[in-house]
Amino acid sequence: MGEFNIKKQSKKYDAVIVGSGAGGGMAAYILANAGLKVCIIEAGAMYDPQKNVTQLKNPWESPRRGASTKHRPFGDFDACYWGWEIDGEPYTKEKGTQWDWWRARMLGGRTNHWGRISLRFGPKDFKRRSIDGLGDDWPISYDDIKPFYDRVDKLIGVFGTNEGLENDPDGFFLPPPKPRLHELFIKNAATTAGVRVIPSRLSILTKPINNDRGSCQFCGQCNRNCSYWKADFSSTNVLIYPALKTGNVDIIPNAMAREVLTNDEGLTTGVSYVNKDDMMEYQVMGKTVIVAASACESARLLLNSKSQRHPNGLANSSNVVGKYLHDSTGAALGGVLPALFDRKRYNEDGVGGMHIYSPWWLDNKKLDFPRGYHIEYWGGMSQPSYGFGWGIENQNGKYVIHGKSKQPGGYGASLKEDYRFFYGAGVGMAGRGEAIALESNYCAIDPNVVDKYGIPVLKFNVKWSEHEINQAKHMKETFKEIMHNMGAIITWGGDDDASNNYGLETPGKIIHEAGTVRMGNDAKKSALNKYSQAHDCKNLFCVDGGQFVSQADKNITWTILALSMRASEYIIDEMKKQNL
């Protein structure tokens, strides 16, 4: 045994949490504030937004001028470490299927750079099978989760407006920012097309809500995380570091979970992990284990946690772990708005992201696809970055510039005039829709491949169905109409057809994966009960996107936060009752 031994921590925690994103961060915050001793194991590096800063940097402060790398696929100033590929951590795909898997590897996970679009699911979103016969109903209703949404709104802060919409519930909103110029054009054009436009709902503080966090400085850089004011929601700024202040939380970074440990009775006793720095094996013990490693990583961890009592992987007697994997649908197009050529300059950074959006506005009973989508918009005068000015010949050869018709391309003072003329005239939009969670779309352990830590990797098997393809077709038709109504010219994404699924992004690309450890009342068809607790193992919980039965036409983070808060309070109650 001399050369290879496993180091066991003597301390026994009340909860060991795997992952520190929205789900893990909220669980740590709630449990630690209730006095429980918590250990977070995180596969990525430590990260402190107060020290690790990319906000308010200029493009020339990056030698690659903001270009993306494999370490920062969303650009050199983006806050997220890693993404589409990680050295030494492969995954595989079944032939003829597609899946792009985003993996953040840092404290706080992808909440450090996400879009802050914070939407509650509506009453219908929990009961879709009852409405259209597809997928399954959730074991909970909107009324069960509403109190937690209310508390998440108040604890974290979100701006928006109460519109009294049936399936886009009201909340406790801070005032939204006024629309930007291109957003006023979009609003008018979309409204003419019959598409409802309302203020966006983003977890960004337009007013202070407590003494620890400031309010938005309108630099438009939420994807860099708010180092200056903690004015947007990230798990690090808003949950993890505040939880650390209780003294009840230990964090083990660079710790790749290998297995959830169980005893002879089949209950969890802790987690084994490999420390990426020293490559040694460790175990950390806890009365409960909460997995929140992201939908697919949590499924992988459970599937890799086989024992005599759990021969099919932990929490998987139902055989559903890894199944029902689904992402948001996505399709986009963009172009230029000639009305904005040669526009006046002023600072319109605003908040990080859109000031307006369109929640789903139609009745699917009258359409050839069962679920809706929302529309996100962008455009205007943003900070130049790598790629700026690319392909000027397609603009200066096409549009009249200061009364002159020019030849495409060129050089010199006349060319400089053109770059100035076209700057800030871009507009675009994207749909984010609900896919149907299908049993046939899944990730499973690849029997042949391990990562550099020797942990078996996931093999994906996901295909879009006609539901999603028809939805993308509808998105593109809607976007074209909006662009046409405002007099914009489409320069990309306008030529899609059936041969490319109408521009429907490959599954995984929208980074809203969910469904792999789903909850339900029937232990034969679900991994978790309605409190995010494993049917097969009462001291095991899953609080990330894995637990979702379906993901609605809403970004899932706000619901992850609400469900994690709910599960965490259930854990506290059950511990008080000595059930755990």
């Binding site: 030698p63 001028r65 790398t69 110029l181 130049p384 690319w390 096409k398 391309g409 010199g412």
Partner: protein
């Protein structure tokens, strides 16, 4: 290749110890600064620091002659004008020198394009591009600076614009790529951002579109927006 080794190789070839001394003077800017300076405090994780330092330590991709040619071309593309300085003023060539080491797919089209350009100039003027006088250089550039484009007009008709002379298309492709890189390098520099008039990246309070701009476009906020949106005292 290790930077020191490459210098050594050069020196042995030149058989002159004086060159070694020159090459090691601090004014020799060929090796970019290590991560800490190059990113000016920008957050970097361990793995990306290592990746950057490795690339930065590699010898320059472009030869001295190639770099000289790029400098002439970049100032033809982005010269000094009434509003801002030139590409050379913005040190765009340094950006191009770095980015080709990172985005290696740019190397062949640029190296090959530069050689194509020199060969054209030798045929026409019996001189390389940089040795040509500025009139000759501009005549050459005029043959490769205007690509053909194709687009659909409002009625869906295909419109073709631009006309490339026979046998010039390779030069046009090269020049278009260089124009893209020069524009990106320039407009992401301090001089270029100022030229564009990008006014953000600074703490401020968004109070909506300025009144004169709303008026220019005949737009107005609704009463609902004015009531429900956040607003700040005008300074």
């Amino acid at each position: 290749m290790d930077r020191r080794k490459s210098i050594k190789t050069l020196v042995i070839g030149a058989a002159a110890s004086g060159i070694l001394v020159d090459a090691c003077k601090p004014s020799d800017k060929k090796t970019p600064e290590a991560t800490a300076d190059a990113f000016a405090g920008l957050d970097r994780m361990k793995e990306e620091k290592a990746a950057y330092d490795k690339i930065a330590a590699e010898p320059d991709f472009f030869t001295e002659h190639e770099m000289k040619t790029i400098k002439v071309l970049q100032d033809i593309i982005i010269p000094k004008d009434d509003i801002s300085g030139s590409a050379s003023d913005a040190k765009v060539h340094e950006f191009i020198g770095y980015i080709v080491k990172e985005k290696t797919e740019l190397q062949t089209p640029l190296r090959g394009g530069l050689r194509w350009l020199d060969l054209q100039c030798i045929k026409r003027y019996e001189k390389s591009f940089v040795e040509c006088d500025s009139k000759q250089q501009l005549a050459m550039v005029d043959d490769i600076a205007w690509p053909e484009i194709e687009y659909k007009d409002d009625k869906g008709n295909v419109v073709k614009k631009g006309k490339v002379k026979p046998n010039m298309q390779q030069g046009v492709s090269f020049f278009s790529l260089l124009r893209n890189l020069v524009a990106t390098g320039f407009y992401t520099s301090e001089i270029g951002v100022k030229d564009l008039g990008y006014a953000g990246n600074t703490p401020n309070r968004w109070n909506g579109v300025p009144d004169d701009v709303l008026k220019q476009y005949n737009l107005a906020y609704t009463d609902k927006e004015l009531k429900e949106c956040v607003s700040f005292e005008k300074v």
